[in-house]
């Protein structure tokens, strides 16, 4: 079955450092990967989308990569701040294109 997997362990980093979160997918080849941010008690909020042929995409301090060989996307936050503390979710549409499937998310804590 199609799966999106994220490291469920929380990531703790120091303010100012770069946070790197990993998303792996198996048994399918998504044309796009999406990243969302979710704060406690709130719904997910869309951050970035990357196409399979884009390799890398940036938005302010955020950078996303897409490696179709490794079947992996990396999400980077540079110069991290305590306000970046949240859960980050990776998502993609399944082969049918009718449901957006999410990983479990990775909790990031910046102190």
């Amino acid at each position: 079955s199609q799966k999106i997997e994220q490291n469920s362990e929380a990531l703790n980093i120091q303010e100012g450092k770069t946070a790197t979160l990993t998303c792996n997918y198996t048994n399918y080849s998504p044309a796009y990967l999406q990243w969302y941010r979710q704060d406690p008690g709130r719904g997910p909020v869309f951050l970035l989308l990357i196409r399979e042929n884009e390799k890398e995409k940036r938005k302010e301090r955020l950078k996303v990569t897409f490696d179709t060989t490794l079947k992996q996307s990396l999400f980077h936050i540079t110069a991290s701040q305590p306000a970046d503390s949240a859960t980050y979710l990776c998502a993609s549409w399944g082969n049918s294109g009718y449901a957006l499937n999410f990983g479990k998310g990775t909790s990031l804590l910046v102190t």
């Binding site: 796009y32 997910p44 549409w93 998310g105």
Partner: protein, 118 residues
Amino acid sequence: EAGVVQSPRYKIIEKKQPVAFWCNPISGHNTLYWYLQNLGQGPELLIRYENEEAVDDSQLPKDRFSAERLKGVDSTLKIQPAELGDSAVYLCASSLGTGAGSGANVLTFGAGSRLTVL
């Protein structure tokens, strides 16, 4: 723009009681989704509507869950009777279309309705 509006934000009920959640999507968004999110997990799709038609409800436990989207705008998700295992956050989302054909379609979520079943 108001975004996706959900109510109630919190609901505490005893098991075997009924409960209903309401969602108002972004104006003009034809596709509406109900997701279930357990603690420490990502959202999982329960049902998807294209206008007023439920086009994907394979993950909806139909013995106790029901949903409707009258007139293709607001939607209601109902649980009757509720069980202890139904305690979770119920998220509503909407989008202009689906990912079919592109995968570039993004979802806008509401804040969610947190259900606690005692």
